[in-house]
Symmetry: C2
Subunit: 352 residues, 2 copies
C-alpha cells in the first residue's frame, strides 16, 4: 500500500533569506545530511552565504536565476519566492522545503521530530480525500479505518502534497500577530489529516513536501503583494500557490495532507510595522477564496501543467479586471508553465 521512497529521489530545498545559515544547517544536520540540498539565495540578499561543511548541496544565486528565467518579467524570485527556483531546477521526484527560520521541534514526549521522515511517510502512504476518518490518518501506526468507512475507499489515492505545522510562532497574518503579540502555539496535535476533496485550506509554505513530478507545476510564485516583505505575514504567494495545488489535486484525484510534522518557528519581525503592508493580502482573500471555490477545470486537463494553464486563464478572465495584482498573477502562472516545460524538457541540466 505504501510507496518505497529512496533518499536519492528527494531534494531538500531551502530559500536563504538570511546570509548566515550556520545554526539552521547544524540543527537540521541529523535530518538533512542524507539528502541532496538545493539552496536558493534570495536575489535581494547582498552578503555572501555562510553554510557549514558536510552537506551535499548546490547553491543557486541571482545570475543562475537570470540565466534560466530569461525574458519573463512576471515571475519574480525574490524573498520567499526564491524557493520556487529550486523547485524548478530540481531533477528529483520529491521536494521537501523548510523556511530558514525554522528548527527541529520536539514532540509531546520531548523527542526531536524528524520532519523529513514524517513528510516522506505522508507522501508514501495514501490519502483519503473522499471520506473523513474520525481517528485521522488510517495509515499511521496503530490507527485504522473506523466502523462505517466504506471498504471501496480504503485504498485511498496518491498523496501529492504534505503541509506540516509549526510550534512556537504560529503562522498568523499581520493583524492577528499584532493583536496577540504574545500568543505562541504550544499545542502539539499528534495527527495527520487528509483535507477532504473540495475543501480549501490556507497552505503555508513554511514546512512542506510534495511530489514534484505530479504537482510541481502548481507550486508557483504568482501572487505578489505590492508591499511584499521578508516576513511570512507580509506574503501571500504560498497561500495562492496552496489554493492552486488543492484545486489541481482535487481535479486530478490526488490527496493533500496536513498536520505532522511540526517545526519550531523562531520569532522575528515586527508585526505592527508589517500591518501597513499586510492588510492588502487580507482583503484580497475575500476575492481569492470564492474564485478558487468555484473554479472548475475541464476534463481534458489531465496534468498539473494543463490545470495551471486553465486556472491562469480563469484568473485573468474573472479576477484580472478587479486588481492589477491578479492580472500579473495570471501572467506569471502562464509564464511559469512555459518555463517548467522548457526547463524540464531540456536534456541539459539548467545548472550553470
Amino acid at each position: 500500500m505504501s510507496l518505497a521512497i529512496k533518499d536519492d529521489e528527494i531534494d531538500v530545498v531551502i530559500g536563504a533569506l538570511r546570509s548566515d545559515l550556520t545554526s539552521f544547517m547544524n540543527e537540521w544536520r541529523p535530518m538533512f545530511s542524507r539528502f541532496h540540498l538545493i539552496i536558493v539565495k534570495d536575489p535581494d540578499l547582498k552578503e555572501e552565504l555562510k553554510i557549514p561543511e558536510g552537506f551535499n548541496l548546490d547553491v543557486y544565486k541571482k545570475p543562475d536565476i537570470d540565466q534560466v528565467v530569461g525574458s519573463s518579467t512576471a515571475i519574480i524570485f525574490s524573498g520567499y519566492s526564491c524557493r520556487y527556483f529550486g523547485y524548478l531546477v530540481s531533477r528529483k521526484k520529491y521536494i521537501i522545503s523548510m523556511d530558514d527560520d525554522c528548527l527541529p521541534a520536539r514532540d509531546n514526549k520531548g523527542f526531536l521530530v524528524d520532519a523529513v521522515a514524517q513528510h516522506i511517510t505522508n507522501l508514501a502512504t495514501p490519502a483519503t480525500p473522499f471520506f473523513f476518518n474520525t481517528l485521522y490518518d488510517p495509515f499511521s501506526e496503530g490507527v485504522d479505518f473506523v466502523r462505517g468507512y466504506p471498504f471501496s475507499l480504503r485504498s485511498g489515492v496518491k498523496c501529492a502534497f504534505s503541509c506540516g505545522l509549526w510550534l512556537n510562532l504560529a503562522d498568523h497574518d499581520a493583524p492577528t500577530q499584532a493583536l496577540k503579540p504574545g500568543q505562541r502555539n504550544s499545542r502539539y496535535v499528534d495527527a495527520v489529516i487528509t483535507v477532504p476533496v473540495r475543501a480549501l485550506v490556507p497552505v503555508s509554505g513554511i514546512n512542506i513536501a510534495f511530489d514534484r513530478e505530479v504537482v510541481g507545476p502548481a507550486l508557483l510564485p504568482a501572487l505578489r503583494l505590492a508591499g511584499e516583505g521578508k516576513f511570512r505575514w507580509e506574503t501571500m504567494e504560498d497561500i495562492w500557490s496552496g489554493m492552486c495545488v488543492k484545486v489541481v489535486c482535487d481535479h486530478l484525484g490526488l490527496g493533500v495532507k496536513t498536520g505532522l510534522p511540526y517545526v519550531w518557528r523562531n520569532d522575528r519581525g515586527d508585526a505592527i510595522a508589517s500591518l501597513k503592508k499586510e492588510w492588502e493580502g487580507v482583503k484580497l482573500m475575500e476575492e481569492v477564496v470564492p474564485f478558487f471555490q468555484s473554479v472548475r477545470l475541464p476534463r481534458e486537463a489531465t496534468t498539473a501543467e494543463d490545470c495551471v494553464f486553465e486556472v491562469a486563464n480563469a484568473v485573468k478572465e474573472q479576477l484580472g479586471s478587479r486588481d492589477p495584482m491578479f492580472a500579473r498573477a495570471a501572467t506569471a502562472m502562464l509564464d511559469w508553465v512555459k518555463l517548467w516545460k522548457s526547463v524540464g524538457s531540456s536534456s541539459s541540466s539548467p545548472r550553470v
Copy 2:
C-alpha cells in the same frame, strides 16, 4: 462569539444495554451530577436496572416506549437504538449521550477529561465548515485562524453536532476488529476539527452531543441490520443517523465537529462471532455512501424535520428497491418525523 449554555438546558442520555450501571455511573459522577439524566433501558433487557443514588434522573422502560410510540412498527428502540427514545422525550435544548461501556479518559498529561464540559464547549463555539484551518479549531484556547483564512468566514456558523472519540477500544467494524484483535487506540489527539461542508464522515454514536432543537429530528433509529446485535460493531444505526445529520447540517448551514473529548472504551464482545452478522453492514455502506454524497435537498426544506422527510423519500425512491432494509429505514424515518412532531408539540409531558 461563544454561547452561554446553562446546565439546565442539557439532558445527558444513557441507553442502558446492561443492567448494572453502578460503576459506570460512579465513574462519571463528577461530570454527570450537575445535569439531568435520562436513562433508557434497552427493551430487550430483562433484569432490573441497578443505578446508584445521588443523581437527578428519569428512567424510561418498555411500557413507556410502547405508550409513546403507539402504532409505528418501523421504529424499533431495542439495543443501542433505545437511546433515541431519550432524544425524543427530552425537553432540553442540548443532548449529551454516552454508551454505557465508556468511562472517563485521561489526557496526555494524565488528567481526567471532563467529556461533558468539552462537548458543551464544542457546541457553544462556532464551527468553520467552509474553509479548513490548519491549526484546527480556531476557538480552542491558544489557537487562532492561520494566515490566509478569509476574514469573512472567521465568525463561523452554529455548531449543531459534536462527535467525540475513544481511547483503548477503537470503533472498528467486525472484520477489522477480528483481523487486529489486539489493536488498541492509545493516540490522544489534542484537537477539535470542523468536518468541512460536503465531506461525509462515519459518525459513531458512542460519545456525542448535539443541539436537539436544531438537529434532533435527524438523530433517528432507522437503518437496522437483519442481524443487529448488542455490540457496536454489529450495528449501523448510528452511522446512518450520522450521515443524515451531516447532510442536514450541510444543507442548513450548520457545523459538525469531531475530535475531543475522548472517552475510554472497555473491551467486550467477540469480534469473530460478530463477523457473521456484520459483513452485511460493511456491504451496505457501498450503496449508502454514494447515496448520501449525491442527495440534494430542496431550498424549501428549512428545518431538520423537512430535511429528514426529503431524505427519507429519496431513500425510498433510490435505495428502496435494492434492499428491503432501506425501504424499512425510509418508513422509519417518515414515522420518526411524525412522532417527533407529535411528541414535541404535545403540551403534556410524554412521561408516564
